[in-house]
Symmetry: C2
Subunit: 328 residues, 2 copies
């Protein structure tokens, strides 16, 4: 079985870990390719940082700090203290020493001509993950946030990372923009992975700034929906609040309710030109299933909380089961 997952960072990594586990347990011989959000990427102190990709890399290689929930285990911040003293890195963004090794390697390779896809391959040569990670696009289309201005005509814009990490998404966002997105195309690995794949899963990542930025790459939705493979999404909203992160602030900026069914409708029904064939909601949202089904979504209520490897694998199994049931 050839499985493709569209995912963001930390939450996406947890879901992909579950997919990998489920595949290893029950579907040997299957492949898992992951289309990773690149909208969070940015340049900091002359270094190219890819937070979602690195969260995937560290989580799937067992290098992540489980207690903290992100970054490398056993991390220190000696270099970061120097960068703060020199004033070249903001205090509000954490740069671990081990993590910096990845950023320096990525930046050196990219400056030597490697694409983000090339970099992704090299990083995975060090740590074979059992799945294959692909940046959604090789174009640099970092997400920026346009704030709701006080006075008409005034637009203040900041990089997504500053809005998200420094301001904890507390400044009301009017719009998310990816400058130059019109030039972007899906990365070569993404297109290869989608060709003749059997199922496509949408991880329970932020629908706006993680999944949304992947889908914003011109040609991405067309590539995802060109195949016969069913597309099954997992709701990142459980019982009206986001599982992790600050998805509410992102959803409200684009006028979508923080609600499992609302997110499905935002992605849209594939047969109506949208994305989804199926949609998994939490047991807490079981009452939404009937309405979704009547609208054409193949909807199921399942346990959505990924508390550990077993619950993550069980969720992946539900998603794969639904996809198999939807196969033409």
């Amino acid at each position: 079985m050839r499985i493709v997952v569209v995912a963001g960072g930390v939450g996406g990594a947890r879901f992909v870990r579950g997919v990998r586990e489920e595949v290893q347990r029950h579907r040997p011989g299957s492949t898992v390719d992951v289309i990773v959000n690149t909208g969070d990427d940015w340049w900091l102190a002359g270094l190219r940082i890819a937070p979602d990709f690195d969260s995937m890399l560290y989580t799937l290689s067992g290098q992540n700090d489980e207690e903290r929930g992100w970054g490398r285990v056993g991390e220190t911040e000696r270099v970061s203290a120097e960068l703060h003293a020199y004033g070249v890195a903001p205090e509000w963004f954490t740069l671990g020493d081990l993590d910096l090794g990845t950023h320096i390697a990525r930046s050196a390779w990219q400056r030597a001509g490697a694409t983000p896809s090339d970099v992704a391959r090299r990083l995975q040569e060090r740590w074979p993950l059992g799945v294959t990670l692909h940046p959604a696009t090789d174009e640099e289309v970092d997400t920026h946030v346009q704030l709701a201005g006080d006075s008409a005509g005034e637009v203040r814009e900041l990089h997504f990372q500053e809005w998200w990490t420094r301001y904890r998404a507390a400044l009301p966002a009017a719009r998310f923009v990816q400058h130059g997105i019109e030039r972007a195309v899906p990365s070569p690995g993404v297109l290869d992975a989608l060709l003749d794949c059997d199922t496509i899963l949408i991880a329970p990542s932020n629908p706006v700034v993680s999944i949304g930025t992947v889908l914003a790459v011109p040609g991405m939705v067309e590539a995802l929906t060109a195949e016969a493979a069913p597309i099954v999404g997992v709701s990142p909203i459980i019982g009206g609040s986001s599982v992790r992160g600050m998805a509410e602030a992102c959803l409200s900026a684009i006028g979508v309710q923080t609600d499992a069914a609302a997110v499905a409708r935002h992605y849209g029904l594939r047969r109506d030109g949208g994305l989804l064939d199926g949609w998994l909601v939490g047991l807490e949202d079981a009452t939404a299933v009937d309405a979704l089904e009547s609208e054409g979504f193949a909807a199921r209520a399942v346990p959505l909380w990924m508390r550990d490897l077993d619950t993550s694998a069980a969720l992946a199994a539900e998603a794969l089961d639904l996809a198999l049931a939807l196969r033409p």
Copy 2:
């Protein structure tokens, strides 16, 4: 008194620390400007590294590792281990974590348009040194080593750092080259410092790959000798061997004996179109003084070993005394 010192890295830093000490003790109100060798600089893992400048910076700010003799005190190498694992930095070059902070800052500033002189200023804003360091030139003219080839016509060339650090200067060198040196000019701070200065000291640094690369900058010797300020050098050779480093390998490549008097003759007598007015040799080389004097050098035999701050300051006092005696 306006003092200018031409210097390389670790040994030069020790001498400059002595000059600073002597000035603070006995010549208050004097200024010390240091022209620092940039020939050892290189790009490593996409980062701009300036070993001599940083040795100066760390030594004069009290951050250097006195026991090891170089680098930052309390240094660790966590990032370096990552870079080795990714294969982006050679195992034979040490990159400390704290030191990497400096390299990342320098690289970020340079990529944002700052010159090496601008970077030098910013680094010294963090650590006021009591002296002012200037890169010899803002041009990138890293030293390369052409090896003595086995067969005629075959020239193998490597960066100075690889020859020096990896091969410990053990591969016979045929020639030292700085590609693009013809485009280089002394940095603005160098020219400002030399204007109307009172004395110029040549530190006991490597005459070939430290002082020699500074002097190779077009216009540098002219700028040094344009002033009335006496130029007094300190021999890096004591009793026929180099005080530190592997100067013999460099001197032999350019056909100069490892000998205090030979180095003075290599620099040349200023009135004959060379560099020096005066030259300090060690007590071990006192017998060379008469010959040097008869050739026109103002030569003195003094204790050259810089064992601590006091002996370094005493040596600086000898150099300044000789310079004062030579003032027109």
